[in-house]
């Protein structure tokens, strides 16, 4: 690869998110001005409330952890050319399975084994809920966009039924505390984070991100997966079984979302609560998009969206925190619209410069 193509690739990868952030910044300014505040001081307040103190940063890291999972979930699907919009249901299923396992294990189970079993349960539950639309696509040709949305509602309704009729602590919508499998808070390693929700799930999730990157870019299976995503007919001709890759990709995708369930269930509250996954699935699409479907890009994008979400709470006194909900939508639309546009402008520019020579 020559330096020129490398540079061209970097431009295509990084320009859309940058353009989107600028647009979001302008939109944010307008919203802040509309309530009669000064944008500079509000954004400064947002930074102070997130990265400016250990508690805020801890909350950001907590939200980042779940977002990395749903972001990876969407990314792996997109690398295979599939849209997994079912992240929310898969995340909830993972958290539910982790809680069930933690409730079933005897309290005396060694912590390492208990956590490992709960993680396996979360990954398996998420993987299964991803496998279903995979098979529906591969065997029946049912489009995964629709089936994953529909499965979201089905899974969430089923879990709501299980919680509200069987498993809840009376007068609440959550289970009892898990007996085993709790993940230690981040404060146990870095005391400054005391009081925040951040926990060592982050380490497990970062390892999963690294593993995903290795699988996608360093293994044969990952190569097949990306080949199918780029051009399924060509991959088929090259001897790849496209249907199998689709099923495998969505299973992996669901498993990654399911893993995210441990952050809330094992690391934070120590119980499963109805609705804990709300919003994370769709935000995963934003994360994957801004992270350009690259595992480390996903980690960075998760940090950004977690900061935005936590920042909303920090500015609530002067600007309604709902401002950040608006900005999330703006960022996604702006990235989605600028990806093809940037590519077109860049390629046109290159073509012109070649002709000028």
């Amino acid at each position: 690869m020559t330096a020129a193509t490398l540079r061209a690739r970097a431009e295509e990868a990084f320009l859309p998110p940058v353009v989107a952030l600028l647009i979001a910044l302008v939109a944010g300014d307008l919203l802040i001005l509309s309530v009669g505040q000064s944008p500079a001081s509000v954004f400064a307040m947002m930074l102070q409330g997130t990265w400016g103190n250990a508690y805020g940063l801890g909350q950001v890291l907590y939200k980042t952890t779940t977002l990395i999972c749903t972001g990876l979930c969407v990314s792996v699907g997109l690398r295979a050319g599939l849209f997994n919009i079912g992240g929310e249901g898969q995340l909830a299923a993972g958290g539910f399975a982790a809680a069930l396992t933690g409730l079933a294990l005897p309290a005396a189970t060694p912590s390492v084994i208990a956590v490992a079993l709960c993680v396996v349960a979360a990954v398996a539950a998420g993987g299964f809920t991803g496998w279903v639309p995979g098979v529906l696509r591969a065997r029946f040709g049912a489009h995964e966009v629709i089936t994953t949305i529909m499965l979201n509602f089905i899974i969430l309704a089923a879990l709501n039924w299980a919680i509200s009729t069987r498993l809840r602590v009376p007068e609440t919508l959550h289970t009892h505390d898990v007996r085993a499998g709790a993940v230690a808070p981040l404060a146990s390693v870095i005391p400054a984070f005391h009081g925040s929700a951040a926990n060592l799930s982050l380490v497990i999730v970062l390892a999963a991100a690294a593993l995903t990157g290795w699988y996608l870019f360093r293994t044969r299976g990952g190569y097949d997966l990306r080949a199918v995503g780029l051009q399924p007919e060509a991959a088929e001709y090259g001897g790849v079984r496209v249907g199998r890759v689709w099923t495998r990709a969505l299973t992996l995708s669901g498993a990654l979302a399911g893993l995210g369930g441990i952050n809330f269930v094992l690391g934070y509250k120590h119980y499963y609560e109805d609705g804990f996954a709300t919003g994370y699935g769709f935000l995963g699409i934003a994360v994957a998009l801004v992270g350009r479907n690259n595992p480390w890009g996903v980690v960075l994008a998760s940090l950004f969206f977690a900061t935005l979400s936590q920042g909303g709470l920090a500015i609530n006194a002067v600007v309604p925190r709902q401002m950040v909900d608006v900005l999330q939508g703006v960022v996604i639309i702006a990235v989605a619209a600028s990806v093809p546009e940037v590519r077109r402008v860049l390629r046109f520019g290159r073509w012109r410069s070649v002709r000028a020579r």
Partner: protein
Amino acid sequence: MIMAFLAQTIRIAIPYLFAAAGGTVAERSGIISLTLEGFMLTGAFTAALGSWYSGSPWVGVLCAVAGGLVFGMIHAVATIRFRANQVVCGVAINLLAIGVTRFFLELAFDSASNSPRVPGFSAGVGANGGAGTGSGSALPGLLHNPLIPIGLLAIPLVAWVLYRTPFGLRVRAVGEHPEAAATLGVPVHRVRYMAVAVSGALAATGGAYLALDQHQFTDGMSAGRGFIALAAMILGGWDPMRAGMACLLFAAAEALQIDLQGTQALASQFVQMIPYVLTIVALMGLVGKAVPPAALGKEEA
């Protein structure tokens, strides 16, 4: 009893009918309608806003249509002009609608959860204490809310437009084979802009029905109805009349569940699943495969 059940079914079906009618037009033109939920939520909010400031529910309906058009145009410009991915943009429109309605709910009514009581359509404003079920339970009671007959007519109207007018022919042409349509001089982009605008206006009117029937806007009040309408449209094989039947079917199941609530015969969660399970079954092709418009969601050359 039967009459009351029928009336209840229709009342539940109205927002689905509006949104499914709109979604059918957009999807037949080749633009994916994951946006119905967002259009509906926006419509519910702007309807409450308009009705509150003007005192007239009709102004509320107009505001809903305007809100739906604005969001429809955002989606159309992003996906048609800028060729943004329709699925991504659709999801973003829904998130944007949640954010915008919450932000302005806070700004206009200083509340994170709901608007104050606004003028609406059901008879006896202020008399029922905002029970949200409208007027009497029999069929004639349905006429108190003009959006009910309009909603029932929206489906056959869309069917007529799609199958019996030049505009409908163009919509179907650009949804099946945009290149061929363009060759014949059909302005593909303009037709799609109009189709998305129609879907925004119709789905938002469905949202207006929700807000004006309950005399207030509550946060997230579309509550997945846009996706149920999407399911109905798919189950109806992208045909407006059959989509309308699916809407009525889903609504009847909900009405039945409400009737059975006391008996514990059936957990409500399982009734909620019906539309989604049926849609997946339809997409699997076990009972007559649902085939989408050929150019749906495709990025055109």
